[in-house]
Subunit: 348 residues, 2 copies
DNA sequence: TGCAAATATGGTATCGATAAACTGTCTGCA
DNA sequence: TGCAGACAGTTTATCGATACCATATTTGCA
């Protein structure tokens, strides 16, 4: 098979559409139409062309097609991270929706940094994507400008930006976290702490903290019980370390809301290691409904958001915007969240 | 800002390099060189061009550049899945390596199906990637042919294919799993079962099972204690369900090797729920050194493979192959694995 | 039978950049 | 002083496909 390679690279030239046309005895234009399953090609010619294609091992060159049709078929999608996060599900939703419509997703990770995001946006726009899906509503000024001037549909996800660029598919992280705190309150918890990352890089994490603080204020609970530990994404490991700090500082805490299920899980495991029963000694809740929250022992109370649906909805919105060629009516899609009470906050 | 959009799309035309050239008072070629940081452009012209660029809000069109230079800057990477798998780490390794060299990764998920893989390969090749990284060594016949005829570097990862297409960055899943079983044997376990997925879709999973079986044979342990449950990727949930079946069928089992840490974790949690102590009543080991294995209580014995390094090495190999323009010396890089003994198999 | 509409196909001109080869300028050193 | 060679910039010719318009053939139906 090595031989084959040397062959391909020594002959060097890959066959082009013109070659196919020559072999099939038609014009390149007809080949082009045939390969795009255009309607006006007779069955006979179609077969001849298909035959020529296999014979030559021809592979369509989309990068040439993109230039001449001025439709690249690319869609850019930027997420903070893929590792251990719901964004992987969102990406799956995006890709499944878009590949079906024959488009190619260009994926980028910002690593939770809006400066990286700016860089990535700039880089992605060079490929002339037909649309772009970003995570969150906070961007650098230049990034906003780039997105606005790109002249393509823009979708912000996973958030409800106060000042959206165009389309939005998201929910209020603050409201969701607030609802979680209220639920804990209803269950009788009164000394509720929040455990999250230090920086404001993770804006969704920051919003969740905000929701927590609002709820604590409204309910008249002791405020300020916030541990900020490590930079996002908060890992399980960090959750475990942070809970130790938290318990040292406020030993009377009876419930902890974590910025994500991963940190919640880490916290729970660490408590178990130290012989602190969850939920009897301390209740711990997470955010995101990760699989680990559904399967761990105890199962973890959390806020569920359908991450894959966010991706699918974003893809759908994008496709609709492209088809209607009408950027004038940006729409905001609010996806629901659900507080799922599980064993980790079941008061004895 | 909406206005801005309407503006951009109603004016319609994005500025081109020729526009920049006109504004800067130079030829398009000079602009091209300037933007690619080519050496032979004087500082003065450079500045004029940069100024013209921001003035017009010009964004380079790489898809046009790709056509004329016949170097797209794309690299295709195919992984089985991104959700809850080490492949997300590998992808990160791939992208970080390649974006630094100015290339764009085209990502695709096969969903553990080589038929999907074939489709994706075909689709990706249309974009004329400069190289392609695939997962595993099993492909459809047509996929192999497509890869061989593409005339670009091909890298197979996460496996040691008996019949590699070109380059390889991987390890023997069978050997790794065999080593794990041996370690359990050394620790005194004698009735060791294997818990994995049903189908042969996940070839790495199948290899791990093979390694298990080989070890059991060699050690003279009771064979056939294999539970196959659900299709890959085996989730935590499925691990939990499978361990129940396993214990019903072979109540005397003293150790279980799971196809991944996720299923191991699910199995452990289910045992805990049923009051079966891990590791005292039953030892459970996983594979992959996921974060959950490092943080759970008990911590899970596993086989660690540096997934991100696989990606980085693959990226490095690819870049080297591209630079040397020499496909004639395919190399196989074997990455190490380590059996990590943790609490989940600590015999009392 | 006749003729408009529908269907099939071809010819030509791009799309927006870069490669390659070429023309001047300027420098430094024998 | 003269000339090689480095440097700056231009001109021209693609790259491989598709849009658009023109043309040829067929079909449908009054």
């Amino acid at each position: 098979m090595n031989e084959n390679n040397k062959l391909a690279s020594s002959i060097g030239k890959m066959p082009t559409m013109a070659d196919v046309a020559r072999v099939a005895g038609v014009s390149p234009m007809t080949v082009s139409r045939a390969l795009r399953k255009h309607q006006f090609v007779s069955t006979k010619t179609m077969e001849r062309i298909e035959h020529a294609v296999d014979q030559l091992g021809y592979v369509l060159d989309k990068s040439a097609g993109a230039l001449s049709s001025r439709r690249t078929g690319f869609v850019a999608a930027l997420v903070p991270s893929l590792n251990n996060s719901n964004f992987a599900d969102t990406v799956r939703g995006i890709t499944s929706g878009l590949t079906q419509s024959g488009r190619q997703v260009l994926l980028g990770y910002t690593d939770y940094s809006i400066e990286n995001e700016e860089q990535l946006i700039e880089g992605m726009l060079r490929w002339r994507p037909e649309g772009i899906i970003v995570t969150g509503g906070r961007h650098t000024a230049r990034a906003r400008k780039l997105l606005q001037n790109a002249g393509i549909p823009v979708i912000e996800t996973w958030d409800l930006p106060p000042n959206p660029i165009q389309n939005v598919v998201g929910f209020s992280n603050a409201e969701a976290c607030r609802a979680l705190v209220y639920r804990l309150y209803e269950r009788g918890y009164r000394k509720i702490a929040f455990l999250g990352g230090t920086t404001t890089r993770d804006t969704r994490g920051a919003d969740r903290r905000l929701g927590y603080q609002r709820a604590v204020d409204e309910l008249g609970l002791p405020p300020g019980r916030v541990i900020s530990f490590g930079s996002p994404p908060i890992s399980m490991q960090q959750g475990g370390e942070a809970i130790v700090l938290l318990l040292r500082q406020w030993p009377d805490v009876d419930a902890v809301v974590c910025v994500s299920d991963l940190s919640a899980f880490g916290a729970i495991a660490e408590c178990q290691r130290r012989g602190l029963d969850v939920p009897d000694r301390i209740a711990i809740a997470g955010f995101g409904d990760f699989e680990v929250a559904r399967c761990s022992h105890p199962r973890i109370t959390t806020v569920a958001v359908d991450a894959e649906a966010i991706g699918q909805l974003a893809a759908g919105q994008l496709i609709r915007a492209l088809d209607s060629k009408d950027l004038n009516t940006p729409e905001t899609l609010v996806v629901p969240f659900t507080v799922l009470e599980r064993e980790s906050t079941r008061k004895a």
